[in-house]
Amino acid sequence: MKFLSMHAKFGPVTTALLSASLFVLCVAAYFTASHIRHQENPKDKIMPTIGKMWKGVENTAFKEDRKGEYRLWVDTWASAKRLGYSTLLLVLAVLLGLHMGLYPFFEAVFYRFILFFDKVPALALLPILFIIFGLGELSKVMLILLGVFPTIALDTYLRAKAVPREQIIKGRTLGAGSAKITYGVVLPQIMPDVLNTIRLNFKAMVLFLIAGESLAATAGLGYRIFVVRRYIAMEIIIPYVLWMSLLAFVADLLVRLWIKKRYAWYQAH
């Protein structure tokens, strides 16, 4: 039972095997179910076989479509841009949260509003969003932001509040002005946590991306899924979904590595 204890240690190989186990299990379950469905109905579309999915991938990723484009890449690029802009704009959320946490004025003005705003399922107010943001790229970026901005701001707020008061007092006594306290003491200390929160919100961003792209777009991973959905083209949807997950996972991984490299003091202190 040692391996179940807190002190268990696993080598990299065992860890890899254990990590793989659930993935393998899921994949196996899928293909078993798929096999059974295909025996009942060889034309089943809901759970396509690996062959069909490969066909789907081939068609979208490695063959030119009508316009001479490799769709998967065009879609990926379109979506990546939208996500990229949103992520950049999240800097504002971090700054807002930081200021709410440190400056009573910002807290008084924004905290309750953001807290309420965070709870508004804005997607349900689509027509009003259209009026405010129009139908272009902006609206998609804004939709993503609408989804995660308040969460990030509130989380940053909590983190900033949790920085020991001694640190701020210490900074003051050393002559640090408000700017230095804010950006030189508090922000770098909470940065690893903030990055962690942002990476845990990639999923939400992807969801809002899909929602936005299904409303008005002509390219994008979410758009494609939306369009082929009516044909129950699971052989395309599943690879697309996995591809999105993989990209998000890799982004997550990169952030994790960056935290490890850049914020060595964070792990141990």
């Binding site: 210490k170 050393l174 640090a176 002005g177 700017a179 003091w265």
Partner: protein, 308 residues
């Protein structure tokens, strides 16, 4: 230097904390204190009497429940560059290396957060000067090798020393130190004592220095403040700490090191110990040793019925 007007005034200061059952507990009871520029005040007192609390009040990090803390006649503002602090739990900036922790204040003062972007050349040059200065301090505290380490890689005593250098380098007008040598061995401690005295003389700082080592208190301080919750009044056992002793140390200041081994010293230490710090020997409020020329005190009638 000691003939300037008092700059720091505490009058009728009370500090109370709410307790579990709602009734507030008095921690500091009617503290009166006057301090002149350039004094080296050591603060001693039983564990939990309120020394750290007193420092927090002077720092401006907390406000008294009652009474006033005045600096230059004005109500104290929030912690700022004039009053340095070494916390009992040292609390360095965890995200900065030892060097950066020490340079922090110089940096902060010389240029705001953003000047570096405007004039990078000037900034770089200044930075170098600061680092050279910090290097001197690092050598004096015996941590020249540890400049690149992060706080979590230091031992307890090393962290303490970094925190001391970090605040000393700023030469604040008032420096508050809360048991800064608690985790140092004797040799290091002696060196640090001399270092602080040297800096104190040079920069004409006013220092509050909390310690449990009475020899240290008497050796370092020009004035010793004894804070204690163990005393009695005419109304009975005291509630909350008072200043039960406030006197100048004999023999000028700074003192020669052999003062440490003098007869005078051991008598003084013995006296402080028995008068102020023993829970078994409750001194009466009337007998407090408030002989310092700046010492003063206000008393309630029920504490001390003068007529008797």
């Amino acid at each position: 230097m000691n003939d300037t007007n008092p700059m720091l005034h505490l009058e009728d200061v009370y500090m109370r904390y709410p307790s579990r059952d709602g009734t507030p507990i008095t921690i500091l009871n009617d503290i009166d204190l006057k301090v002149r520029q350039g004094e080296f005040i050591t603060v001693v007192g039983p564990s939990g009497c309120g020394k750290s609390t007193l420092l927090r009040l002077i720092l401006g990090a907390e406000s008294p429940t009652e009474g006033a803390v005045l600096l230059d006649g004005k109500k104290l503002d929030a912690p700022n560059r004039n009053r340095g602090i070494v916390f009992q739990k040292y609390s360095l900036f965890p995200h900065l290396s030892v060097m950066d922790n020490i340079v922090f204040g110089l940096d902060a003062e010389a240029h705001g957060m953003f000047l570096g972007w405007l004039k990078p050349g000037q900034m770089r040059q200044r930075r170098r000067a600061f680092r050279d200065q910090a290097q001197v301090y690092l050598e004096r505290i015996g941590l020249a090798d540890a400049a690149d380490k992060y706080p979590h890689e230091l031992s307890g005593g090393m962290r303490q020393r970094v925190a001391i250098a970090q605040s000393l380098i700023m030469k604040p007008r008032i420096l508050l130190m809360d048991e800064p040598f608690g985790a140092l061995d004797h040799a290091t401690r002696t060196e640090m004592q001399l270092f602080i005295l040297e800096q104190w003389e040079q920069a004409e700082m006013t220092i509050f220095f909390v310690t449990h080592d009475l020899e240290e208190a008497c050796f370092l301080g020009s004035r010793v403040l004894v804070l204690s919750q163990y005393y009695q009044t005419d109304a009975g056992r005291g509630q909350g700490a008072k200043i039960v002793g406030d006197f100048a140390t004999p023999g000028g200041h700074p003192k020669p090191t052999d003062f440490l081994y003098s007869e005078e010293m051991s008598q003084l230490v013995h006296r402080i110990r028995s008068e102020g710090l023993s829970p078994d020997n409750l001194q009466h409020i009337r007998d407090f040793n408030l002989t310092h020329r700046d010492a003063f005190r206000t008393v309630n009638p029920e504490e001390w019925q003068r007529e008797q």
